[in-house]
């Protein structure tokens, strides 16, 4: 696609170049006829020979620059060399074509210096323009590639962050099912159903898709049911949500990892029962969700930054909203609170 595009542009460039040379042939022929009063057939032949030579030299430069762009000194050397070659060829070709025209041949000989200068200027002009043109094209290509690479990397990172399903969770859930299968097969079947629904929910969603809070809470509920089977009476949860927040949007699968983190932190840092409190409400048009878990201030070390498993959530919010201030944590006595703010303006 990109190669085809470049080929078409290159053909266009050749046509423009041809037209440009033709107009110089006419201009030169007209100028010499008008200024020195030679017959137009003489001046036109001369102008054609001169400009074809220049065009050939220019073409050499352009062709070279398609593949290799030398530095300024080399370009200068090349253009001077080509200009000298043009003059040499012209000095041979003009007398050979316009025999019997002694007066015109003398005119050519006398104007050799100015002709050389003209050739050099034209070749330099062509080579400079083509140098710029190729450089810019190449830069644009590189930029396009960069943008595409960045986009891919960002998408990959988002999908990785989103799909950080803990294998630990999966295997422990399967182990619970295995335990239930022996004694309480009905409950085992129910848990298989819940686990399947939960997994299906994590699979089908698109990375950047926004879902409503009520959808996300449904998905969360499945997760909480499974965790409650695993941990029994130790795990208690309360979901406290504002009715008008239910239709607010948030990135899919954002809430569950936050809650998972809170559960892990709460259950592994304390013994006995653990209360996880999830609150959702709207504040100044933003969706605010906070998750509370107990912890032991004496042994836990959540002092540095957000810590725990929250880094990937922080990163995900940054990739989606380009803001670092959407996730915050707070410790009060033995309660650790994680708050996320989801802007609603798209």
């Amino acid at each position: 696609m990109a190669a085809a595009f470049q080929r078409i542009s290159y053909q266009k460039l050749i046509i423009v170049y041809g037209l440009w040379c033709t107009s110089w042939v006419i201009l030169q022929a007209y100028a010499t006829t008008y200024t020195f009063g030679f017959d137009w057939r003489l001046t036109l032949t001369d102008a054609a020979i001169t400009n074809i030579l220049i065009a050939a030299s220019g073409y050499v430069m352009v062709s070279m620059m398609r593949f290799y762009r030398p530095n300024q000194a080399v370009r200068l050397g090349l253009s001077v060399g080509l200009a000298l070659l043009c003059i040499f060829a012209m000095n041979q070709l003009v007398p050979a074509t316009l025999t019997e025209q002694q007066e015109y041949q003398d005119f050519v000989s006398r104007s050799l210096f100015i002709r050389a200068l003209y050739c050099w200027l034209m070749i330099t002009l062509v080579s400079t323009i083509s140098w710029l043109w190729f450089s810019v094209t190449e830069q644009q290509e590189a930029e396009k590639r960069n943008v595409a690479t960045e986009k891919l990397a960002r998408e990959a990172e988002l999908s990785r962050l989103r799909q950080q399903l803990q294998p630990h969770f999966l295997f422990n859930s399967l182990n619970s099912i295995s335990a239930l299968a022996g004694t309480r097969p009905e409950e085992a079947r129910k848990m298989i159903q819940q686990l399947s629904d939960f997994l299906r929910g994590t699979l089908k969603k698109d990375d950047q898709q926004l879902v409503t809070l009520s959808e996300e809470l449904q998905h969360l509920q499945l997760y909480l049911e499974i965790e409650k089977v695993r941990f029994g009476h130790r795990l208690n949860t309360v979901i406290d949500r504002d009715e008008n927040a239910l239709s607010m949007k948030l990135p899919s699968l954002l809430l569950q990892p936050v809650v998972e983190n809170a559960i892990k932190f709460g259950l592994y840092d304390t013994t006995g029962e653990t209360m996880i409190r999830i609150k959702a409400n709207s504040e100044e048009g933003n969706l605010i969700i906070s998750v509370e878990n107990p912890f032991d201030p004496a042994s836990a070390q959540p002092k540095q930054g957000t810590g725990f498993g929250l880094n990937s959530i922080q990163r995900r919010l940054y990739l989606l909203y380009a803001r670092q201030d959407l996730l915050s944590t707070q410790q009060r006595e033995n309660i650790f609170t994680t708050s996320i703010k989801i802007p609603q303006t798209v």
């Binding site: 294998p167 630990h168 182990n175 941990f231 592994y268």
Partner: protein
Amino acid sequence: MIRTVLIDDEPLARSIVAEYLQSYAEIEIVQQCNDGFEGVKAIAQHKPDLIFLDIQMPKINGFEMLELIDQPPSVIFTTAFDEYAIKAFEAHAIDYLLKPFSKDRFDKALQKWFAQRHQDTKKTIAIREEIRQPEERNRIVVKEAGNIRIIPVNEIQYMEAYDDYVKIYTAKEMFLKKKTMSFYEQILDPSLFVRVHRSYIMQLSQLTRIEPLEKDTHVALLKSGVRIPLSKTGYTKLKSVLGL
């Protein structure tokens, strides 16, 4: 009768082990524990022959729990860790069971234990460093007068070698732990703790100044006023960590 204790924070995970054990009339489950604290007490009380131990548990993990027991019984780990991680301590435990495990796999583990139990293999459970859990770098679990204490490493001022033990000093207290200095030198974050002497490891943030003692010898003065001798290599190490 063979006495066993099940230690896992998930009731269902214990129940499946209990269920599988029903076919072994000679094995008696003397207690089921929810966490490592209960586990330490149950093991001290019942002196079981065999325990089934989960690794990820509240407060202290399975490895830390074993550290607190002077003569640990045989251990079969039950865990949801992946196989790769578990391979690391395969050699040291009787066996490990990856959750969820089948009755067949469970039977194999027990047969292995039956085959080994009468051999005189007082296996000490040495766990390779690479599978230590990240939380173990941030805390040290000690037993003090029958209580289990969890000391966050940032509260440790310095450590001193003491025969087979290490004395761990915090601002107010001193704890004894049966470990080696080189163990802590490895496990503690080298940007926070420096082994400044054959017998001393100190926390960098506790340092107020380095004083010359005699020709070529130095001591480190801590904020608490304690002076710690620096060996020649310890002094060089300390200077390089401080960027001097």
